[in-house]
């Protein structure tokens, strides 16, 4: 059980810092989700050529100098932006924070591919002479880079590392942050996930070879989870980091509280490198619900993971049926239909976009569903138009990834 009567054992979200293909702060992002505004656009990347992607347009120089941008990575820059935005949003007086008691926990799907590809491309022009291989390569590609760049930028001297968890990483980062708070390893956690994946041609080429890269004449219609004509994933970049605090600390300083992390679970399929396993996905959701001390009918909204692959969406719907049966009271939506698949950031971005529903009572829809795939039909699916007057008290956020990694977090309105 995670829930406890003790306020220092309750973990709450007090700040949100994000950049998504359709918004660089929570207010703009939420407005885009309610307006059905996609962030997918035409994109070109070497070797693969013209394709589509979710591209972020945040102001990189808001928190970094040009030299920091040159020396660091895109994932690091996304992380620095999101972490600073989260602190700003939290109302925490950063000058009063003990930097030794801050922990940085950043989920990533992958890291290092971008810089390695760049360097190989660079030395290609020198007949593969490794003497021109950059000395920046190793600090850019170490797995902790995106979290480490945040510590360098903000002067954080507490623990930092990334959590490699494929596309479950956004949730995994948040879970890690909560666990470290509960263990007393830090007093403030900056946690979530980031992605720079649109800058590696390999991820596009890999999905294309797998027959899982989305194509569409209209970029904004390319990401179409649950639709009969879906044809794959739109790769996106982005980031979302939360400030997590113990409820006792947050309430003492009068913080705005977005919600409480009342349950979470992670498990493994142990069945396939790529194909999901609905039995284990369902078990993951059920574990999170049980640990939260809730019943399935307490879940008002499920933020689904569905990526718009032909089989993956069906498998998740199968898992949702196993957990929620024919429930009409549990709504189900999907954010990838707007922003594509933000990989390591997907879990935290998709949760963030739904948090305002605690206040406005609106469930944003899954867009681009012109013809619902019968195999994806669920009673609670919210399609194409926002569902208003839907009081939301509890959100379950799914994030699953390759190698059969599953995660679910449950956030309750406080």
């Amino acid at each position: 059980m995670i829930r406890s009567a003790q306020d220092d054992q309750r973990i709450v979200i007090t700040g949100v810092g994000l950049t998504a293909p359709n918004g660089d702060n929570l207010a703009d992002y939420r407005a885009a989700l309610l307006a059905g505004k996609s962030g997918v656009e035409p994109y070109h990347i070497r070797y693969v050529g013209d394709t589509l992607a979710g591209v972020c347009h945040f102001d990189e120089l808001k928190y970094q100098k040009r030299k920091e941008l040159r020396r660091g990575t895109r994932a690091g820059s996304v992380g620095v932006y999101c972490a600073n935005e989260a602190i700003s949003d939290s109302g925490i007086d950063w000058s009063e924070v003990d930097p030794t008691r801050v922990g940085i926990y950043v989920g990533v799907t992958e890291h290092g591919n971008v810089e390695t590809e760049n360097e190989i491309n660079e030395i290609k022009a020198f007949d593969y002479d490794t003497k021109v291989w950059s000395h920046h390569h190793n600090p850019r590609t170490v797995a902790n880079n995106p979290a480490g760049e945040i510590t360098l930028n903000m002067g954080v001297t507490g623990p930092h590392y990334t959590i490699g968890a494929a596309c479950a990483a956004g949730n995994a980062g948040m879970i890690q942050g909560a666990q470290m708070l509960l263990l007393g390893e830090c007093d403030l956690a900056i946690a979530g996930g980031v992605s720079e994946s649109i800058h590696t041609f390999g991820i596009f080429a890999g999905f294309a070879s797998q027959g899982a890269l989305a194509e569409h004449d209209d970029p904004t219609s390319a990401s179409r989870p649950f639709d009969r004509d879906r044809n794959g994933i739109v790769v996106s970049e982005g980031g979302c980091l939360f400030t997590l605090e113990r409820f006792s600390d947050a309430s003492q300083r009068g913080a705005k509280i977005y919600g409480e992390l009342v349950g979470y679970a992670m498990n493994s399929d142990a069945s396939d490198f790529v194909l999901p396993n609905p039995k284990q996905q369902a078990r993951c959701m059920n574990m999170a619900i049980e640990r939260a001390g809730l019943n399935t009918d307490d879940i008002d909204l499920v933020s689904s993971h569905a990526t718009a692959t032909s089989s993956g969406d069906i498998q998740e719907c199968d898992a949702l049926r196993r957990v929620f049966g024919d429930s009409r009271s549990t709504l189900v939506n999907n954010t990838k239909s707007y922003i594509g698949h933000a990989m390591g950031a997907a879990g935290s971005l998709e949760l963030a976009g739904n948090l305002p529903s605690f206040e406005d009572g609106v469930c944003h829809p899954t867009i681009n569903v012109d013809n619902l795939d019968p195999e994806c039909e669920l009673p609670g699916l919210v399609l194409n138009e926002p569902r208003e007057n839907s009081p939301v008290e509890v959100i379950l956020n799914n994030s699953f990834g390759m190698l059969g990694i599953n995660s679910a977090v449950i956030i309750k309105k406080v």
Binding site: R66, K67, R70, R71, F126, K131, V132, S134, H135
Partner: protein
Amino acid sequence: MTADDIRVEILDILEVIAPDEDLSNIDDAVNFRDQLELDSMDFLDIVMELRKRHRIQIPEDDYVQLASMNSTVTFLEPLMKDIVKA
């Protein structure tokens, strides 16, 4: 390349390596580190850029010659005298 050409080339490299710095009033006699925010990785960048642009190999023992603009130009002059300015 003449000494003046080499100076211009070094300034061009510094613009890339230290994009936040104002290089318009650089004092050629003063160490770079005393007037610019440069660290050891930046000096490796200077070495790397010279290697990439002009195929010049600078032994590690000679990195100290890159301390100031004057010492850098003096050190590079014999190494770059046959290089034609692009």
